[in-house]
Amino acid sequence: MTDNGLFNNDWMELQRRYWEGWTDLSRKAMGLEKPKTNPWEAAMEHWWQAFKPAAPDPSKVFMDRMLEQGKVFFGLVEQMTRGLGATGAATDPTAGWDVLNKTLTGMQDAFTGAMGRGMTGADDDNATQRLLGFWELPLDNWQRMMSTLAPTPGDWLRNMPHGPVQDSLHRVLSAPGLGYSREEQGQYQELIRSGLDYQRALTEYASFFSQLGVKSVQRMRELLTERGDTERPIESARALYDAWIGCCEDVYAEEVSTRDYARIHGRLVNAQMALKQRLSIMVDETLGAWNMPTRAEVRTLQDRLQETRRENKRLRHDMDDIKRRVAAIATTSGPAKSPVARKKTVVRKKTVAKPDTP
């Protein structure tokens, strides 16, 4: 631990003014609006926006991902070291801990608040948004995956009303259809019900991860306490980031091993499948009405064809086997013998004179 007095607000302020001056100049040249980000993040984003048009397409996707994680890295470091300079934490650990605890509590409050409004909100500053956004990774992965499997975006149901509104909707949807179109009405009702069920499952899934964010901050607090107690301070931004990742993974691993999570996960997948099945049925109905092949018909044909191919291959295998055996028999019994002339047997009938009849 150093006490050279460098760890103070003046130095941080100098760094910020340097980067902001550089980015301001570049921004004016490029005609970009002022971002509300930390200076390092802004500089990196600025560089990438300038370079991106020249990058090959495959690299763009990859670099976007790397930059996004880089921003999380910068955002976390900014969050955790924010305000520490002002207290001179190096020389006054107690004051440093006050600031750090406030930061950690603020992070937990941000997660708790996010549970009510659905994770990241416009009120959060950029660093907090990045932190909350980081804990959205699992949900984000699910939504990206579902977007590739469906014509609708993976998060299209995320902000639908839930709670009492859903309950009312369910009651309305329970009313049976009437008349000629009762079957069609029933299908639409089932479709909407499936959509609501999926949305409920998705909300439950997102809420699960919001809670884990709070727990991961607590785990980070414990880790930092332990590092302070054992006089092994974290000495680099990367080490701070790795420590945070470790806490998140530990908490995540503990929670996703539970039966509760398995149920939530199962409900999410099953609800999504039920919704897709409803959509498939309705698409098939429409295709059938237009006299076009439906998915159900194609599947029936596929099953029958596969059964025929299976049988065909089995028969071919049996035939090959028989041919092999016949060839083996022909080989072991040697050349065929010439046919022997059969001796004709002549049967002589013995004639016995019949006695004269009176």
Partner: protein, 356 residues
């Protein structure tokens, strides 16, 4: 003591270095070029539907062993993991021990393959590949090496066709699908597999990717890309990273009926331990496996925990059962330098002692 000792000048320098590495490494990324899938030359010797059976070309002047080896990979992911780069190739390692290596490439199933069952894969495709190799070499039996789910398939195949297998090697193969530390198994218990397959037909590779990434989401979709910046100045390391990246996301779709049976009979009912598995109407009895068996597992495997593989001990009818523990993970057992030095030579030696 205060737990964070990061001076602002050091912090600024670290951030600057990070940004510089990123910018400088961009050139290596752009110059990486096409990413090859497998490095060892091979010939396609048999094809059926989407399947291709490859025979790898011999390397160097190694004396070739008389009994060929068929590698059966899993349906999930692509088999070029075993041959991902010159100095990290399980295939090359096996060739160097004198094995005549064949490999089944399952290809990329589409909805036309939806109706394929486990019977089609095991008593169909695998059996015909085995017969092709037996005919080509004039042998009654060949050696089999199954990897992960391919190992499970190899066990099923050998139980049904013991007369065709001389020696069996299983690598990171799940046998007990319900060990307490198996996250994948825990997650799949509440999934209605019938609904899933009836709805989707095939299971998309993207869904499998999501499931695997969900095992460690922050490391695999976050931290990995921050760490990658440290590699960017080395063109070779960039290429190696991109190869792994390509492989990780290169997940074929799974034939629906096969996936249905595999999840229900193995993950949900744990059929290999509890019994009741049938393939093509024939019950599976692992005691029918009487050939020598080498079972290799990875001690830090989070996909197939060690106990899931070690459960094989005592289930078969062989009196020549050997276990080999590798101190690494599910992927490291193929691509790590340590695996090249320890695992493939051990497999080669074990096979050579039993193949004449």
């Amino acid at each position: 003591m205060f737990p964070i000792d990061i001076r602002p000048d050091k912090l600024a320098l670290e951030m600057q270095e990070y940004s510089q590495k990123l910018a400088q490494g961009m050139q290596n990324l752009m110059d990486a070029g096409d990413i090859d899938a497998g490095v060892t030359p091979k010939d396609a010797v048999y094809q059926e539907d989407k399947l291709t059976l490859y025979r790898y070309q011999r390397t160097g002047a190694t004396v070739q062993r008389p009994v060929p080896l068929l590698v059966v990979y899993a349906l999930v992911n692509r088999p070029y993991m075993t041959d991902i780069q010159e100095d990290r190739s399980t295939i090359r390692g096996l060739l160097a021990t004198g094995q005549d290596v064949y490999l089944i490439d399952w290809g990329y199933p589409d909805q036309a393959d939806r109706s394929l069952t486990l019977d089609d894969y095991i008593n169909g495709y695998i059996d015909r590949c085995v017969d092709h190799i037996r005919d080509a070499h004039g042998l009654d039996r060949i050696n089999l090496l199954g990897i992960c789910q391919g190992g499970t398939f190899s066990l099923l195949y050998t139980a049904l066709h013991p007369q065709k297998v001389q020696n069996l090697v299983t690598m990171v193969t799940p046998v007990d699908f319900k060990t307490p530390d198996n996250l994948l198994s825990a997650w799949v218990q509440d999934i209605d597999v019938d609904l899933m397959i009836d709805t989707m037909g095939n299971v998309p590779g993207e869904l499998l990717n999501w499931t695997f990434l969900s095992l460690k989401p922050f490391s695999l979709t976050g931290q990995k890309y921050v760490n990658m910046v440290d590699l960017l100045d080395d063109a070779d390391k960039v290429k190696n990273f991109l190869r792994m990246e390509q492989w990780i996301f290169d997940s074929p779709d799974q034939a629906g009926e096969t996936f249905r049976q595999f999840i229900k009979d193995f993950y949900q009912k744990n059929g290999l331990l509890r019994g009741g598995v049938q393939i093509g109407g024939r019950p599976i009895d692992l005691k029918q496996i009487t050939c020598p068996l080498l079972n290799i597992y990875a001690q830090q495997d989070h996909l197939v925990p060690p106990d899931a593989s070690r459960a094989l001990d005592g289930l078969t009818g062989t009196d020549d059962y050997t276990e080999l523990a590798f101190p690494g993970g599910h992927i490291g057992i193929y691509v790590s330098g340590k695996a090249q030095k320890e695992v493939t030579p051990a497999i080669g030696e074990w096979l050579n002692q039993r193949s004449g």
